[in-house]
Every structure is written in structure tokens, then in C-alpha cells.
Symmetry: C2
Subunit: 142 residues, 2 copies
DNA sequence: TTTAAAGTTGCGTAGTTTACTAATGTATTG
DNA sequence: CAATACATTAGTAAACTACGCAACTTTAAA
């Protein structure tokens, strides 16, 4: 069960926005994308989805850019994942005509709920890289 | 994040085996597959995986078939999912060179752990259809 | 000891999804 | 009105999923 890269990227971009939240940080796509090693074009698509979900605000034209809609403490991993993937994080099919299809589906619905709950308990603030340890991003070879 | 059909099918087939566990039920593929509305061919592949994981035993030749390796209470959804998909249920990529890649990955690892824990708490017994309500499987049209 | 039932293995593949790129449209500011 | 930056849509190569098929091996029973 692979977590879509798109969802991970969304987390990274939002983490990047969270870094400059208090500095009234309006950031441009190019800036965000390069900081997270993503293509600008793809980042735009992700940011558009996040805007439609109400997690970020955007401004067009010169000096435009993106900005978190709320304080990083008030944005949970659950909201991010739901914005990218829809309400059910663990999509199990209501299924075929098999005798056990229904109870199996019900069980996975419970798992989905547990996962959602776990995602609600993680805030965007926890996704920010601690400036002390740049964790490999600055590793470079001559 | 779609739960693979293969994993759901594995649950259904095992639930079917659990139904006849106390009756020393050795069941044949054709039987299991039709009860769960699956193709026999595909079910074989699933059952083979489950056997390699040690969840079922098989006997070849005439009067062969499959059988649960343990009591349904002693088999958890976690074991089933791991048998089909590997240790990590929520696979997040350790990722790119982005600044926030590491903390984001760490967060999803926590979610994975929560999901695993939730799956450990659901036993195969809970996947058995209650005989009272056949929940749609017997619906038929002339 | 034949024979047929039943599991085992591996290959092939159509259809879908993912992770992008690219091109074009639209709003904002100086 | 021109430069800038977000918005939207279309297109696509690669990977993955959910199967089907066929050849092989094992075992019980006749």
C-alpha cells in the first residue's frame, strides 16, 4: 500500500510554507519547489489542490505566491492527506458478492478510522525540519 | 491510497477457511473461490502466498486442499496484510533531497505504526460473516 | 500401478494509475 | 499594457494491478 508521492510532496511543500509562517511569508512556487527538490510545474498542481481544500491562500500576478491559510499547529496530517486523496485514506472496496466481503470491508473501515485518528494527532509543525540538523540535504560531493 | 484487492481477497478466503476451522475443514480452491466469488486461478496465487507466510497449510493430490495453520483468534489482520504486502503497510518513500523529506517520512512511519497496531487488534474471527444476515450474497434476480 | 484429482509455478497481458512535462490561459501590478 | 506569477488542461511513459493460461508435480484411490 504505497503512499502516493503527491501526498508526500504536499506535506513537504506545506512544511516549507510553515517555516516562514510568522514572517508573513508569501512564497513563490519556484522558491518552494527548489527548497523541496520538486519540479515547479508539478508543485503548482499540488498547491492548487491544497488551495481548493482551503489549506493555503494564493495571490496571482507580480509579488504573488502562496501562504498558509492557518497556523501550522492548526493543520493536521489528516487534513493534508484528505485534501490530496479524499475522505477515506484506506480505500477498501465494498466489494464483490463473496460471503465475507461485507465483514472484511467493515474491518478495513475500522482500520481507516484508526489511521485517520493517528493522522489527526500529527500537526504540520511536526513536519518542519529542525534547522540544527539538515539531515542530508546539504551533503554534497565534489 | 487504495487497499489492494489481493489483500481483501486474502481476508475473504481466510474468513472462509475460518468458518470451517473446528470441523477440521480442509477446503479446496474451487470451493473457497466460489464461496467468495473469486476466480479459482487467482485464489490459488493468493493461497500460495498465504502458505509461504505460514498462515495456511496445504495438501496436494486427491482430496487435497487448504486449512488454517492456527485458530482464527490467533490470526490478526496485521499478519494477513503483511503476508500480502510486506512489513510496512503505509509505504512512504525515504525520498528526495528536499529539506522536509526526512521529517515528513518520519511522520508517516508513525502513521504506519498506528495502522499496524490497529490491524493487530482485529482477528480473523471478526472477519467471519454472521450466518443470520447473509448480507446481500443471496440476493438474486430471475 | 495406473489414473485422475488437486496443488505449484511461471509467463503473459490488458487495463488502470501514477508522476510527471508542456502548453496555454488568466489575474495582478507597476 | 507589458511583465510576472498563478491556474488549468492535455498528453504520456513507466509502473503496477488483477487477472488468465498452460505446463508441471504430488497424492489418493481404483
Amino acid at each position: 500500500m504505497r503512499l502516493p508521492l503527491k501526498t508526500e510532496y504536499a506535506c513537504q511543500v506545506l512544511a516549507q510554507l510553515a517555516l516562514t509562517y510568522d514572517k508573513d511569508g508569501v512564497r513563490q512556487v519556484e522558491d518552494l519547489a527548489s527548497a523541496e527538490d520538486l519540479s515547479a510545474n508539478y508543485s503548482v498542481q499540488i498547491l492548487t489542490t491544497l488551495r481548493q481544500a482551503g489549506l493555503v491562500n494564493s495571490r496571482r500576478g507580480k509579488n504573488g505566491g502562496y501562504q498558509l491559510a492557518r497556523h501550522p499547529d492548526e493543520i493536521s496530517l489528516a487534513e493534508i492527506a484528505i485534501a490530496m486523496e479524499g475522505e477515506t485514506l484506506v480505500q477498501s472496496s465494498p466489494g464483490n458478492e463473496g460471503m465475507s466481503a461485507a465483514p472484511v470491508h467493515a474491518a478495513w473501515l475500522r482500520v481507516n478510522e484508526a489511521m485517520l485518528e493517528s493522522c489527526r494527532e500529527i500537526s504540520l509543525t511536526e513536519l518542519i525540519a529542525s534547522p540544527a540538523e539538515d539531515t542530508g540535504a546539504q551533503d554534497w560531493v565534489i
